[in-house]
């Protein structure tokens, strides 16, 4: 199967017009030494039906139907069919970046509305039109702060998502930034005011990676006292319940946006949310859509403040991002509009109540307790009396994706398992989880 519409006659006619005899002649000017002569060992073509069978076969090699209690940025929330149906409109899916505004009002307006809603939930006035994911949004936030302050220090909470920490570290190594990690005590960041090099940014997660709700003021006061930007990674699904980073005085908020409108997708494509203050607008990475008017005075949307971007500003751009996660952002917007203010509150409330119920149930199991006793969101850290990887494997045999082991990223929590609960989990599932975990623990 291929998707070229050319008939043999077409190819012949076109080659003839070009004065060529055969398709190979199109490449006659390439240096002989770089032209492929042998067989590249590529697979044979497949018909569509064979292809579908192959994908089905690959899919069958994944364990089906695990009931998901894993989180850490990617969550199994309820995703309404209407959100997928609208997002997957081919006019959105198969268009390019809306450079030609006149024929891209659909994508542009959808992004403008996305920006508006992301600003609304984060309480910050300006949101870009998406970044790749939560972790790389963290990198962009740090880059912004470094550019803005001219400093090389980056203070990060140990409660920041480990992958965000890791990607910032990868980047810092190349850029020779100095990262200072602030420890957690009792499940929350214990900020140390004199932690070393002058910080460009103070970065933390709200709730933090253990699920615990941080003290906004502590971080923001520290940051602003030190002349740094306060940067919060937030959980969009909890912004109906937890105070917004904007209201708390943060300068930048970013987030892993997957739970808004996107399936878990093995972690991608997802999207990074990024919001900031007007003051930092000209340093914002990524695309921005603005509202304006056309020649007839009709409202029209267009990409704007483009001088920040790589195609105009090149090596001086605020970021290198070009292709972003537009379709995922549209999904997020459709989902947010589906939820509305009260749906967002409801999804947070239900998730948190169910998390409390499960935490209560599992901590009744002998040997199982919470790693920290502090108010959490819809995710909490368990301490198990066995290796959490083994627990996850044993729970998978029982049909549960039990959570994300914490021990790799937090050696100080050797039995740590991060358990996430969404509104999708039924009480029956929570009870069964607790029963299964009890067996796993007692078998260990």
């Amino acid at each position: 199967m291929d998707f070229t519409p050319h008939t043999d006659a077409d190819v012949h006619a076109m080659l003839t017009r070009l004065g060529l005899a055969e398709p190979n002649d199109l490449f006659a000017h390439l240096p002989a030494e770089v032209r492929v002569s042998g067989d590249l060992g590529l697979p044979e073509p497949l018909s569509e039906l064979e292809l579908m069978r192959h994908i089905d076969d690959l899919g069958a090699r994944n364990t089906p139907g695990l009931i998901c209690f894993a989180g850490g940025g990617i969550y199994d929330h309820y995703l309404p069919p209407v959100v997928r149906a609208l997002t997957l409109r081919p006019e959105f899916v198969t268009s390019y970046t809306p450079y030609q505004a006149e024929v891209s009002q659909g994508v542009l307006q959808a992004l403008f509305e996305y920006q508006s809603m992301i600003a609304a939930i984060t309480g910050l006035p300006v949101a870009n039109a998406s970044l790749y994911d939560g972790a790389s949004a963290g990198l962009e936030a740090v880059n912004l702060a470094v550019g803005h302050t001219g400093r090389k220090g980056v203070w990060i909470s140990r409660g920041l998502h480990p992958h965000t920490r890791e990607i910032i570290t990868t980047f810092a190594r190349a850029r020779e930034l100095q990262i200072v990690e602030h420890p957690m005590v009792g499940g929350r960041t214990a900020w140390a005011p004199d932690a070393g090099p002058e910080p460009a940014a103070v970065v933390f997660s709200q709730p933090n990676h253990l699920g615990v709700i941080e003290d906004y003021d502590a971080a923001v006061t520290l940051a602003h006292g030190a002349g740094a930007l306060a940067i919060a990674e937030v959980d969009p699904m909890l912004l109906g319940i937890i105070r917004s980073p904007g209201a708390a005085g943060c300068d930048i908020a970013f987030a892993e946006g997957q739970p808004l409108g996107n399936p878990m997708s093995f972690g991608g494509p997802v999207l990074g949310l990024f919001t900031t203050t007007m003051e930092l607008l000209r340093r914002l990475p990524g695309r921005l859509v603005g509202q304006t008017f056309d020649r007839e005075g009709r409202p029209a949307y267009t990409l704007t403040l483009r001088t920040r971007e790589q195609d105009i500003r090149r090596e001086k751009a605020s970021s290198n991002i070009c292709t972003n996660q537009t379709l995922n952002a549209i999904a997020a917007a459709v989902h947010l509009a589906w939820l509305g203010p009260n749906g967002l509150v409801e999804v947070g409330r239900q998730s948190m109540q169910k998390a409390r119920y499960l935490a209560h149930r599992v901590t009744e199991i002998r040997g199982v307790k919470l790693a920290v006793e502090a108010p959490f969101g819809r995710e909490f850290p368990l301490l198990l009396p066995l290796d959490p990887d083994d627990a996850v494997a044993a729970m998978a045999d029982r049909g549960f994706l039990a959570g994300v082991p914490l021990s790799g990223d937090y050696p100080e929590l050797p039995g740590g398992l991060l358990v996430a609960v969404t509104e999708k989990r039924t009480r029956h599932q929570l009870d069964s989880y607790a029963e299964a975990l009890e067996k796993v623990v007692s078998d260990a």
């Binding site: 291929d2 190819v11 076109m14 070009l18 398709p23 240096p31 030494e33 770089v34 492929v36 590529l42 697979p43 569509e48 994908i55 089905d56 899919g59 364990t63 850490g72 149906a85 081919p90 959105f92 899916v93 390019y96 809306p98 030609q100 891209s104 659909g106 307006q109 959808a110 992004l111 508006s116 809603m117 609304a120 910050l124 790749y132 972790a135 990607i167 980047f171 190594r173 190349a174 209201a247 399936p263 878990m264 991608g268 607008l281 859509v289 509202q291 304006t292 007839e296 009709r298 267009t302 090149r314 290198n320 537009t326 379709l327 995922n328 589906w338 509305g340 203010p341 109540q353 994300v404």
Partner: protein
């Protein structure tokens, strides 16, 4: 009434008013959502940092939500509606069977932190795709973490950096041709390198002497796309790589233009060390209005140890994750844009070796054919045979009629065809960068040419009309200056206002 086959235009339906925003459609108390009643004990949620109330989101019913986005979709052009010869973007047809693959429940509901023994199929997808990609590029191994081309570039540059550091060198300079895409210099800066620009010569290719002069011990590497952004194959590519390698520099291939050479020539054989490819161009994954894409990075043997991780590795008949020995670390929160990779794999497997090569042949054939038709009215500034795209210039047209490249682009919209890329690459005055791709038929290619020639004809007779184009679109040219001067970036912002 038969029109020539393959002519691709979109048509109006009715109405013409602007689409209200969701906020305009909102009414307090309206609701689309529903959740099952809470089936565990309820009560006050006692946490610090409690939100004072629900956020200010719009309130709409499902019916209005559907109508809103359906109408928005009707205000957007797309590949599925017609020809999209946007240079450098490879807006080819995105097969529907790949949509099916990307929505496969066995993949779309996987959590990235699942233990590997429960995601063997997903790891196999990555392995299969990697193998094909490496064979096509002539590389040893690849990572699928970078979610787009620019992220691939940054990844590649971080790998360069790690390589050089392992050999005791500090970041230095990266050479980039003046025709390079903007992401290249931007990535270089982000990675902590500085940029040195190489001029193009009269062939539209990198000036080999300038390269020789530029190369010194501070040079960490060269970034290049080949065919370059003029659509021309860099004839001296082997020599260029040799020169850079002489100072232990690395040669980076920006794979945006891989479509032109699939199965015909391989970056590895040209001397490149690092290759990113854009699955959302070459491998037919749709562009989603600006993303998601995927920008996997493949490297030669000696750089494998630096790749980001974890990478899937075979262990008997199982697959598991492993961190490369000297990994630069993660460049994505999870495993990259996995479902995009799945789409690309479906495409690669459908085409197989012969089909992939046919992509190169027919994308070049379409471009070369279109170029020959279009050259009747537009200058082709460089004479070398084009590959999968070509750059024409409207400079003469502008001199003669005042009609600029941008006007030509807009006038094309009126004819139901998407505009080419304009004013890029920067080395051509009034550039029109045209990439028909291999999925357009002969008839469509001819329709594009006819439209471009008709516009040139119209420019001679009624330049104002062309300058005021487009005339048939949902809006005419937006006031970009106003948008930038007094930005309104959310529906809460007053013109000129904000926090």
């Amino acid at each position: 009434m038969p029109e020539p086959g393959g002519r691709a235009t979109a048509s109006p339906l009715m109405g013409g008013s602007a689409e209200p925003t969701l906020r305009d459609l909102s009414s307090p108390g309206r609701q689309a959502w529903s959740f099952p009643p809470l089936d565990v004990p309820d009560g006050d949620i006692e946490i610090p940092e409690l939100a004072p109330g629900p956020p200010a989101l719009p309130e709409v019913a499902e019916r209005d939500l559907v109508a809103h986005y359906t109408r928005l979709a009707h205000r957007n052009f797309a590949v599925d509606l017609g020809a999209y010869p946007l240079g450098s973007c490879t807006m080819k047809y995105n097969p529907k069977v790949c949509d099916w693959a990307a929505e496969h429940p066995a993949f779309r509901n996987l959590h990235p932190s699942q233990p590997a023994h429960t995601t063997q199929g997903a790891l196999e997808v990555l392995m299969e795709a990697e193998e094909i990609l490496c064979r096509l590029t002539g590389m040893a191994r690849a990572t699928f973490q970078p979610p787009a081309g620019a992220a691939g570039e940054l990844t590649g540059l971080l790998i360069m950096c790690a390589y050089h550091r392992s050999r005791g060198r500090k970041p230095g300079t990266i050479l980039i041709p003046d025709s390079a895409h903007g992401t290249n210099p931007a990535s270089v800066t982000l990675a902590g390198y500085s940029v040195a620009q190489l001029p193009s010569d009269e062939r539209g290719m990198v000036d080999l002497d300038a390269l020789r002069t530029a190369v010194d011990d501070d040079v960490a590497g060269l970034m290049l796309t080949n065919p370059n952004t003029l659509g021309l194959f860099e004839e001296d590519i082997v020599e260029m790589a040799r020169i850079v390698h002489e100072v232990d520099g690395l040669v980076y291939y920006d794979g945006a233009n891989l479509n032109a050479i699939l199965g015909v020539a391989r970056p590895g054989d040209m001397g490149f060390d690092i290759v990113h490819s854009n699955l959302h161009k070459t491998f037919a994954t749709p562009h989603g209005g600006g993303g998601p894409g995927a920008g996997p990075v493949a490297v030669v043997d000696r750089l494998v140890e630096f790749l980001p991780g974890p990478l899937p590795v075979r262990d008997g008949d199982r697959l598991r994750w492993e961190m490369p020995a000297s990994t630069i670390g993660r460049v994505h929160g999870n495993h990259g844009n996995f479902l995009v990779v799945l789409r690309a794999l479906a495409y690669m497997r459908a085409l197989g070796g012969p089909g992939l090569r046919r992509v190169a042949e027919r994308s070049v054939l379409n471009a070369r054919y279109l170029e020959s038709l279009v050259s009747e009215a537009y200058e082709i500034p460089y004479p070398a045979p084009c590959m999968h795209e070509f750059v024409a210039s409207a400079a003469a047209l502008k001199r003669q009629t005042g009609v600029r490249a941008m006007d030509v682009a807009k006038a094309l919209l009126d004819r139901g065809i998407h505009a080419p890329t304009v004013y890029f690459p920067l080395v051509v005055e009034e550039a029109l960068m045209v990439e028909p791709t291999e999925t357009e038929s002969l008839e469509t290619v001819e329709a594009i040419a006819e439209a471009l020639l008709a516009i040139a004809g119209e420019a001679a007779v009624d330049p104002e009309h062309v300058q005021r184009a487009p005339h048939n679109t949902p809006v005419s040219r937006p006031d970009d200056a106003l948008a930038a001067r007094q930005p309104v970036l959310t529906w809460d912002m007053e013109r000129g206002g904000g926090r």
